[in-house]
Symmetry: C2
Subunit: 361 residues, 2 copies
């Protein structure tokens, strides 16, 4: 807990003088002032976060946290639970959506077992060998959450440990020289705890933050909302205590994501937030320390209805709106490309003087 507290206490607002300096440079480039819109905003924020007037973006990493969910027993997902570990195998072999888009964005993928109900120890003969495309890191805190309709997802100690795992990864990858982080998730059933977290921490009714996840039908959606309402009623998560919410109706991967955001902010590393599950983690982080907002980029606007609600609560405007709802970090990977475009504009364009172009009258 002291690691978490110390890290949170070290997160400051960004220094706005860097925004102004970056704006000055942007305004002298060969284009009408402000004509590159949000690309300019991304560049300014990147400069202010890193406090580097000529920031690098050469090392990029996407952290895909994986965890299982006991609440799958309640029929909340269109997919069986074993898909979580099967998809971890898919990540390692490079065949998943996140692998394709991370390659496209020039980013590395790190897959973290923080709470999968599967044995990934090296002796397991089913593990993929050779041609591994993503780094696998074992940071298992739990083997899946308990069924939140019947009791808490995990102990408070385990919830804190999950957040600390994220912080440790942020510290490690910041030291290794990575210049931008992104979040991602894998966990069959994890829109259910994400909706529960959204309902508790935004105060919105469950029906307004609960969607179809991987694609359940109307009847299953009604059942899912009932399950979430029951989970909140039975566990009574305390909205003023985000770690209580995480332990009672959350998930290990959501805790890891919250920790990564906190750790990124403490290390002044810009962090891109993927879709609905990642913003549930972001909401935990933001509720613990609102200053983390300064370090986050919201990658996209998911079709999952609770996503918009959380983004509004935090006050983040998404970069892309492409009807994505896959998770894994796929939205993050695409948004990284756009943020990088902004940083390159800032660094590589000629000024009016350099190019011999007349200024406006």
């Amino acid at each position: 807990m002291s690691k978490l507290k110390n890290t949170i206490n070290s997160i400051l607002h960004i220094d706005k003088s860097f925004l102004e300096k970056a704006q000055k440079r942007l305004d002298n480039l060969t284009k009408p002032q402000g004509s590159l819109g949000r690309l300019e905003e991304f560049a300014m924020r990147f400069v202010a976060i890193t406090q580097n007037p000529l920031p690098d973006l050469n090392k990029k990493v996407i952290f895909t946290f994986a965890g299982d969910h006991g609440v799958v027993d309640e029929g909340v997902s269109a997919y069986p639970k074993e898909v979580t570990h099967q998809m971890v195998f898919n990540f390692l072999q490079g065949g998943a959506g996140i692998n394709v888009l991370a390659r496209h964005a020039g980013a590395e993928v790190v897959v973290i077992d923080i709470g999968v109900d599967y044995d990934f120890t090296p002796l397991n003969p089913h593990l993929p060998r050779g041609n591994i495309e993503a780094l696998f890191i074992s940071k298992k805190v739990i083997s899946g959450t308990k069924n939140i309709r019947k009791g808490p997802a995990m102990s408070k100690d385990d919830a804190i440990r999950c957040v600390e795992v994220g912080i440790e990864l942020a510290d490690e990858y910041s030291k290794k020289g990575y210049k931008i982080f992104a979040t991602g998730d894998m966990g069959i059933g994890n829109t259910t705890p994400s909706s529960a977290i959204a309902a508790v921490l935004t105060g919105k009714p469950v029906s307004e933050v609960t969607g179809r996840g991987t694609g359940i039908n109307d009847e299953a959606l009604k059942n899912k909302a009932r399950v979430i309402e029951d989970a909140i009623m039975i566990n009574k998560p305390d909205p003023s205590d985000p770690l209580d919410v995480l332990s009672k109706v959350g998930g290990a991967e959501i805790g890891g994501i919250a920790g990564l955001i906190i750790g990124a902010s403490a290390n002044r590393v810009p962090i891109v937030i993927d879709g609905f599950i990642s913003t549930a983690g972001a909401l935990i982080a933001y509720s613990l320390e609102p200053n983390v907002k300064d370090y986050m980029f919201a990658s996209h606007n998911s079709t999952e209805i609770g996503h918009k609600v959380i983004l509004q609560k935090i006050g983040l405007k998404p970069i892309l709106d492409l009807d994505l709802r896959l998770g894994e970090g796929t939205g993050s990977a695409l948004a990284m490309l756009i943020i990088e475009a902004g940083v390159k504009i800032y660094k590589e364009m000629a000024t009016f003087e350099e190019a011999g172009v007349s200024k406006n009258e």
Copy 2:
């Protein structure tokens, strides 16, 4: 004219059976069906346009058409006219926004002098030499348009020639093996003819399609709208004759863009449309032959108010919404990255069977 007519006559609707085949492949990849949203749409359209079940996207090119505008004499722009040729120099030296974003997208930039009021012949000692970052092609039809407040922008023959230049470039680059084209523009004052075209061909009032361009103030905006109203009143462009509209209130680069779109469609090459000026060209092309719609991707939603009006008229939904208003092809370059992401998803992701992942229940 016969080249234009023949090309238009060869443009067919895309074959929808290719959409279905592509959808089938996408639905078997390791993700919930449809969960990659518009990326899947882009991939399907790309397959159907190229009629290639495994399309390539290795050679990409952005065509930035440059032209001058006599109407600048009426005070419609925040920048002096010489900025058009100065920016062409900037393109060739790699310092402009389009250079940075094209490099980021892995696309080549081709700059076409189709109507600049400047002598780009090789003997001109002011031309940049060495370290040229973009290909320069001279296809000069006119040396700037005439002032449309006083008479037609150019002759009908010149307007047709501009469109044919675009078609010829599309033919040439299709033969050279380029797999995706994009449009871009450079021309101080060219939001004025674009707004005029939008008003005439959509039937909307001038005030609803006229914006601040590079950033004029309220008074200049009022003047700009009056200039456009005068230009339409004096020239009486015929809304049922897009080439009449182009010749009376258009611009050379807008004609070139229209031709490129027509030529791309005839060659079944997907074409990305940049911002407001490019969609004015797209509207000319669409008015000549509505089937071109099947081949176009609208890159982004510009802050220039007439842009949305044209996109709605054609029925295109933009890919990005980043408050851009620079032109040059900058929105195109970014959108190319997103379209390519969709094609890569389609080509590179593993199927459920390949990855050993359980399907939904």
